[in-house]
Symmetry: D3
């Protein structure tokens, strides 16, 4: 029964490396890049636990395990007391994963991790397009004087040319800010920013058509901060902002990436202590399953 058994991601087999896989789930138990409430270090474990409910096909009929070789490869070993070292360790671990040709889908962990993951991805795929769902832009130059933290990964990524800002979209931005416009810098780089007010009361399918247009053939990475979703649905996160996306809109965004050249993705900022019954983690697990279903090569029923 689903209540039994070792809690690997989606109850997939566990293997130590990515060797032989088309896609893998990998966790990063990181929370020392967090600015407000911590706890995301336990995100991977809780996402795995809740993922045990999830079955083998998505509700559009995609059966990813029939098209792709997928496994859980466990967690990256990180230094919990030195964020800069942790970031290096993540980059190295992902470089190894990518070398096998496997596409990583990451269970976070705080959003700092997207920076070293994108560094590794650049080594494999070059500069990528980015679909970024978040309440926050995460393009601060510094936090408390530090260049590396969960509010800076995409500033670093753009500066280091890991991401093409013209092929980057941020969806769900909102919340009280530090300045009248916290998103000015990335807009100046050419990033498309979609504030949550543009999303309310409607489907995001039309927006995603535009995104598919924008992306074309470029390798695309999906970075989904669970705080993009409203805290009513996703309370288990460290920097909740009211008035967010609905889970349905979150699904629409990921499903809307179908057809793109998706080369990886992450689901970050799930903080289990703030959601002890796992509603947020369950949502995270579902979003990761949908990411798996939009990887190139997954077959859908022809109707």
């Amino acid at each position: 029964p689903r209540s039994g058994g070792i809690a690997t991601m989606f109850r997939l087999p566990y293997q130590k490396t990515a060797e032989g896989l088309d896609a893998c789930f990998v966790g990063i138990p990181l929370d020392i890049g967090t600015s407000n409430r911590s706890g995301t270090r336990l995100g991977p474990r809780q996402i795995r636990t809740e993922s045990c409910l999830i079955r083998s096909c998505n509700s559009l009929g995609a059966a990813p395990y029939e098209s792709l070789q997928v496994a859980d490869i466990g967690d990256v070993s990180i230094n919990l007391y030195d964020l800069k070292k942790a970031v290096c360790m993540i980059k190295e671990a992902y470089s190894k994963i990518l070398l096998t040709g496997c596409k990583p889908l990451t269970l976070g962990g705080d959003h700092t991790l997207s920076y070293p993951v994108l560094q590794a991805i650049k080594g494999k795929h070059g500069r990528v397009g980015l679909v970024h769902v978040d309440a926050h832009g995460d393009t601060s130059d510094e936090m408390l004087g530090e260049k590396i933290a969960h509010g800076t990964p995409f500033r670093r990524a753009i500066e280091e040319d890991l991401v093409d800002p013209k092929k980057m979209i941020q969806i769900g931005l909102r919340g009280p800010q530090y300045t009248p416009d916290d998103h000015e810098w990335q807009k100046n780089q050419g990033v498309r920013t979609v504030r949550v007010e543009e999303c309310h009361h409607k489907s995001l399918n039309p927006l995603m058509s535009e995104v598919r247009q924008m992306m074309g053939d470029i390798p695309v990475y999906i970075s989904f901060d669970i705080d993009g979703i409203d805290p009513g649905f996703a309370p288990g996160t460290g920097t909740p902002e009211v008035g967010g996306l609905t889970p349905i809109q979150g699904m629409e965004i990921i499903r809307g990436c179908r057809g793109l050249n998706v080369i990886g993705g992450d689901l970050v900022e799930v903080s289990p202590p703030y959601d002890p019954f796992g509603t947020t983690a369950l949502l995270g697990a579902n979003l990761l399953f949908e990411m798996l279903c939009v990887l190139p090569g997954v077959k859908y029923p022809t109707k």
Copy 2:
């Protein structure tokens, strides 16, 4: 005050049998038909507790206690260690209730219970139409090799001709599935299935017009699995599926049954341990109150 007094359903009088009543509330403390998380055995108790907040008229002006004789008749006595025997006990208990001419509104308990309730209802009313709200179709042939469980009641009901599949609608279906289309069987029987994607971002009033068309004069049973609603609003359930209906849509479905020949209903799958402050149970109590308000004979203000 509302915080005081014995917690019967809506603080109605308690009586041992359905004798003399037009409608009754009855609980079934069942959870051994559950596949994922358990706990619904305590659903009836928590729904009663939260129901104490609810007043005597609904917000459309219906005053059911002025039109109907209603009471709480307590819980069905069931065998907690043998599901097959429990199912028999439920069928017998409901046959007795129905004999009095009273319409039962059931506080669940897991969804297995709809099967014996519908068996009893057939004895009284013959084959019925069914409005079924759920994230899941509940038409599996077997679960872990068993014919009786909370994922099979409507397979059994259709097989035993308790429900007319042409007068049956399922609303809110979603979630990762076991096969590319878990709802194929019932669609082949003629059941109308409405996936949640068809419901998002809009009112279900138009859908319910169609339902009233479809049903005509046939006796109609309402089976409402609280997991049809999104876990953001109804976390207290055992098989939560992200991206569900809103409470408003749930209300629209039940209110849309007004005018039909409703002969009973159930509200199932409330699992209190996963919602210790009772938000889910309160929603369940409200949905049951709305079911009471659409029973034939309840008067509304003429405006």
Copy 3:
């Protein structure tokens, strides 16, 4: 960091009186006017705690601290064992605050408090217009035989001519009621009542245009009962009613008051024990921040 420091409202300076301020935050730790679940006496403390996350500009670019002098002036000292005395103490305390010319934004506390606050406001501003968000009309004549309680403040306010009923709107009304229409009395006084069914599935911006029309230049008070919002988003309250407004709609209402002559506001009925991780209080803190941002004199970016 945001996790550090004494938890004043928005981490503003604390001062003992309102002297020299344009606007102040003030708490009223009251819950003895509550009819169902209590706990709102701890609302001010939890709202302050969660408010520490909130930054200095709203997402429309308003920078209130650059336009206005604002501080936290702590809580009103009340009698916890005698509601009638507590009400007098609140009136007196607010009269002193208003004498300084400062606009009070109140952290509740149960809704009883709006009555003495409006009494004090009348002394300063005369009769006011009222934007009232709530699941309940709060215009009962009595509760359990008492004239003062959290279900009666606006009956008293209209009777005592504190509010102009022709310039009063109630948004979000719903819930099972005591009579077929619990809002008849205020409708007869000329109050505009907007039931939640009129709000579902859409933006409230058009409604707020009408409100701005209706109000004209009259001094306007905003009274926001957090139970106006759906319990899925705001479980931490004492009289939750299913099927409420979304947080987004709540924001639209307050932002829609921009341009009016807002002279004060309150956010009431946050009950911390029913939301231990503070999601409801965080929403309350955001709504109070938005109230601050619509006070006359707050500058917005001209674009």
Copy 4:
């Protein structure tokens, strides 16, 4: 099964009055006498809910239902908005109960209630002895200037000669205080005060021998404030004090009253919102069951 059925106290029959009973359970949903955290108005309901687990004999072999006629008579109807009136209503309701000769065992509710209960008891039994378990002495002269509140009942009771201070013992006193000795007044009246430091690391059976000596034949009332027990075991209360009695010691105190002329008792200050899974209420229900078992006339096995 125990998870089913209407939640009356110990699943006893409910009856409207005390007529014909030897003992009754009665609830008082009061919390407006509370000084710190509220919530005890829901104590009676949660104690009833948790009491459903309790069986018919205690573990010493007492079978109270075979010796006594016992029922649940529901809750006293109180004014929730005026503590002084509520106190009068309680006194009247208990006077009626006592007139029937029935012994009341009360489910609180805040400790204010002991004052009117003892007033009513004086009318029936005259001055009584008192076994009072509490972290606090509850003999303040005033709280925030008021004579009636949950910190004053035993000051009033001694002043009005409801209790013989020479036959009164307080067990479990502790906690930071307002003065170097908050218990001076009652010590001067002759009350025996037992600070918790005298209780640690040992059985209270010897102490209870002394209590039985002290009491002799006088009618004895037991007032048990759940905050006498350590918050590790009983977190669900409004004024928790660290370093309290163990549940075992609480049991020893009540069991030690066997043989006394016990004429009633109460279990107060259970605040459900602070213990959503009901551990505290379950302890309260057990303590009330033990009180029932020490009522005169309950037979024990002779061994």
Copy 5:
């Protein structure tokens, strides 16, 4: 770090069978034998999660992994909808485990499971001695008319001669009962019953000396129902009884089995939904680790 990695028991390697092991951890996700609150089906998963904190030596210096080959072999596959079939499946699975010569330490699951486990053990080791910690005797003849449930395993075990009643001790018995002495039957069989009142306020080391005397060389099984411990320390269980053993006493009991011929053990009745932060499961994991440390062959430091 400990917050990372797949949550196997104590982060041991996972293997599919017991082949080659001296001892194994195995889970049984069972809760359909439960009489009061359910949820133990998730016990194995939560115990594994919390076990990740536990290091490799116990605090007496035992280093079990240096003496024994140990692994996690996952969960027994059971029928969730038919308790009688589940019991058969458990017996078969354990028979296979025992065939390898491996000693099973079981993560429960409700206490019903001890019955089929002991059946399997009899096949391997013959009749065993039993150290049984529990608030309840679990020797009912029937529950709701059924022979198999979590209150009957030791009745069945004695009847079927799986356990030698003269080499059986039950520690921690308490709680309201169904009859003046619920433990009469087993006392008549020769079982030693130790009520919790005999344990309070002192060390159980002397008792365990007697137990070692009593047992001699017979193979001994340890069955530890977490409800033996007080609910203040172990709230996460389905049938909590106040006034229980302390965790320290629980440790003393298991450590006191050192030197006996322990051939297996179980830790049952951990119900995660009632303890969302895992305190109970962590205690369970520690008790299982101590069981591992008293298996014959584990070396201790010689001092």
Copy 6:
């Protein structure tokens, strides 16, 4: 009322510096030195919140505010993304506090903080004696390869001669360990280690007599890790170990320091997300109040 007002420590006045104070409360919102579960960065805030319940005298009659000038000086500003820098910032901040002659009582924060605090204290007082309550020795040489983390502060402190190991005692040590004896190093330095097994079932007053002997006149620092207390009483911590001290024993330890030359203390490792109703923080606040009461100069009643 206690439920009102800004939550400073014990509702003391807040001031920016320690100037003019005999003792101060100061918070350190640190959790990036944590090895298992995080969350202690919010410890200071929750301890302040719960401290509002605490009155002005302890239960032995000490009235610290009459003898000493005390205030809350807020939190140390730390770098949340670089532990090594944070440690430097703490040392500097405490050096300034100590310069004023004020004695700091610290609200933690993870245990890493004791290292820089002791560094600063050495500058003022020279080498100190140490009363250290903890489940863990915290004398690891490294954690994950790092010298600074919450498991190493006392290794560093002894190495840097901040503490005299001959005047150091560790009480409450327990828990599964990494080696057969994790405390060997400090025992070799001359530290007295008291394992929890030596503490069970009895008062620690005799032990504290020995401690007072041992310390003599040396300046003494008290470092109290809340995980020294059993998780049944103090669940809100990151590395809970079963079988700990009772709160009473914790009180006995601190009260037993009366008469020593106490020059400061800390209460660390309170992790609010794991104890949302604040029982652990309330215990922490009480322990800090008792530390205040044993500072030299606090007068006690002479009896």
